[in-house]
């Protein structure tokens, strides 16, 4: 390739005296996640999988729905499962590609980087989940114009909580593992392998640890405290593990 190399300019550009504010850092992380094809593809999948499942379910149902809450939350959980990937990609992806080096060179306070990433994926997870729920509502309206509106608000709120929580779990897990393939394999093996098997063999134990089940319980108004604790523990453990490893891991 032919290149024309220029002579450096003598005028120093004006740079900010301090690092970006936390909101700016969060917005930067959102842009980083959505500036790659993989990030955009995962976000699009998380946005569309719920409405697509809703269209399939409503279109093939033999009877009209008598409750909107259940279908909206269940299809919303599909999107939340995809949002695990969005969270994992935002943290583990940086380690896999080595771009974490550039990130830490510009913001050496690693805890702050992790906080910005967590806020960014929570925000993206909630927004994508809410928009996906809105699309699912539109799908329901198209298939069954007379469907009951009861519980729609609560369902959308629960899906938003699920979106944010699952994205945070993915981000924490990804930061802890520090490798995209390892993080995605581990997190889906756990959520789509171990937990369903446990749900079959030891349902009473699974009910106490399954975050998806906790979302369903919350939506139905059952086991409120236990469900909040389950989600808090999942998010907390993932983020603490991710933050500890992010602070300790050497960038080589």
């Amino acid at each position: 390739m032919t290149t024309a190399l220029a002579t450096p300019v003598a005028v120093r550009p004006a740079a900010r005296r301090t690092g970006p504010s936390l909101p700016s850092a969060v917005w930067l992380e959102v842009r980083k996640s959505l500036s790659t094809r993989s990030g955009m593809a995962v976000a699009a999948a998380a946005l569309l999988i719920g409405p697509a499942a809703m269209a399939l379910a409503a279109g093939t149902a033999s009877e009209d729905l008598d409750d909107a809450l259940g279908p909206l939350v269940v299809t919303g959980l599909l999107g939340a499962l995809v949002l695990l990937s969005l969270g994992a990609l935002s943290t583990a992806g940086e380690w896999t590609h080595g771009s974490i080096q550039t990130t830490f060179l510009l913001e050496p306070r690693r805890g702050r980087v992790m906080a910005a990433k967590a806020a960014a994926v929570a925000l993206m997870g909630a927004v994508i989940a809410v928009v996906a729920s809105g699309l699912s509502v539109l799908v329901l309206l198209a298939v069954q114009p007379s469907w009951p509106w009861d519980g729609v608000g609560r369902a959308i709120l629960m899906v938003a909580v699920a979106g944010a929580a699952f994205a945070l779990i993915g981000a924490g897990f990804g930061a802890a593992v520090g490798n995209t393939a390892g993080a995605l394999t581990g997190i889906y093996l756990l959520n789509l392998g171990v937990l369903p098997i446990l749900q079959t063999t030891k349902p009473e134990l699974a009910d106490k640890i399954d975050p998806g089940n906790a979302i369903l319980e919350l939506a139905q108004g059952d086991q409120q405290v236990q469900s909040v604790v389950i989600l808090t523990v999942w998010v907390g453990v993932a983020l603490i593990a991710g933050t500890v490893m992010t602070r300790r891991r050497q960038v080589s």
Partner: protein
């Protein structure tokens, strides 16, 4: 300015950087020279906090790197040109960096033009050659035109035109009062770019000084019409004389003026008289030989 004091790194029982100390002043280009595995990159990573030091400290502009309010505006760093997301375009990569540092968006196009990547800015980085990634890394480091620049092997992958451009860039930066630390294993590259050399071998600084003083040797090469007679006169004055190449005499422990005075006193006709200078390669291998 960079101040490194007693920087040490252990990996288990292995010491990869051992009590490294130096201070880099503004207005200079310093070459950090050493064979592969000597500890150059680990030292640079410790300066930026990417790798924690086992002992010692490193200050940039008087503070630890992690305490700089906006590090990217103080020190432009290129450690690994491959440390970028390959799925982003070059322009998007730089825009994200510009927003993190807080420089105006138009600066992105300026640095892209500076490094000759304007035409490729819209392409994804996975399609860049090593040289293009190197130039993208340099562009990122120069976004804020920071007073301190630290590049690890920046000439890797650059074509001769790019290497010459980079030399000019670093010299110009130092001329404007900037501080430059440049690591390389390309001896010729360093020799033509730097004011000062830090030579590292086996994790320790084995030489530190201006290029000229490291290359100079304590002796003189002299060629005379009558070398036998001149050698006798020099030996009589207490100088150690040995035969050199092409009939020249090598006089150890003497300056050109010493030899000139003996030649004048003895009426010797000289065709050449010069101080001995070792090649950088000789210096490098003699200093880093374990």
């Amino acid at each position: 300015m960079i101040t490194v004091s007693g920087l040490t790194k252990h990996y288990g029982p292995r010491t990869v950087v051992d009590d490294v100390s130096f201070t880099l002043e503004p207005g200079t280009v310093t070459g950090f020279l050493g064979p592969n595995g000597a500890g150059k990159t680990t030292t640079m990573r410790m300066i930026t906090g990417l790798v924690p030091a086992s002992a010692g400290s490193a200050l940039v502009d008087g503070r630890p790197y992690s305490a700089l309010p906006n590090p990217g505006s103080v020190m432009g760093t290129l450690l690994d040109a491959a440390a970028v997301h390959p799925g982003r375009t070059g322009r998007m990569h730089l825009r994200l960096l510009a927003d993190a540092i807080g420089v105006p968006a138009p600066r992105v196009d300026e640095v892209l033009e500076l490094v000759g990547l304007s035409d490729a800015a819209g392409r994804r980085i996975r399609g860049y050659s090593l040289g293009m990634r190197q130039r993208l890394g340099i562009a990122g480091a120069l976004l804020a035109d920071p007073p301190v620049i630290m590049f690890d092997e920046p000439a890797n992958g650059l074509d001769p035109e790019g290497i010459r451009w980079m030399r000019g860039l670093l010299r110009d930066h130092a001329a404007r009062g900037g501080t430059v630390l440049l690591s390389s294993h390309l001896l010729g590259e360093v020799e033509h770019t730097v004011d000062r050399l830090l030579v590292i071998g086996g994790g320790r600084i084995v030489a530190d000084g201006p290029v000229a003083s490291l290359l100079s040797s304590d002796g003189v090469s002299v060629t005379s019409a009558d070398p036998v007679s001149l050698a006798a006169d020099l030996t009589a004055r207490g100088f150690a004389v040995a035969p050199g190449d092409d009939g020249a005499l090598v006089v150890s422990g003497a300056s050109p003026s010493d030899v000139g005075a003996v030649a004048a006193a003895g009426g010797h006709v000289l065709s050449e008289l010069r101080p001995l200078q070792r090649g950088l390669e000789d210096v490098f291998f003699s200093l880093t030989a374990a």
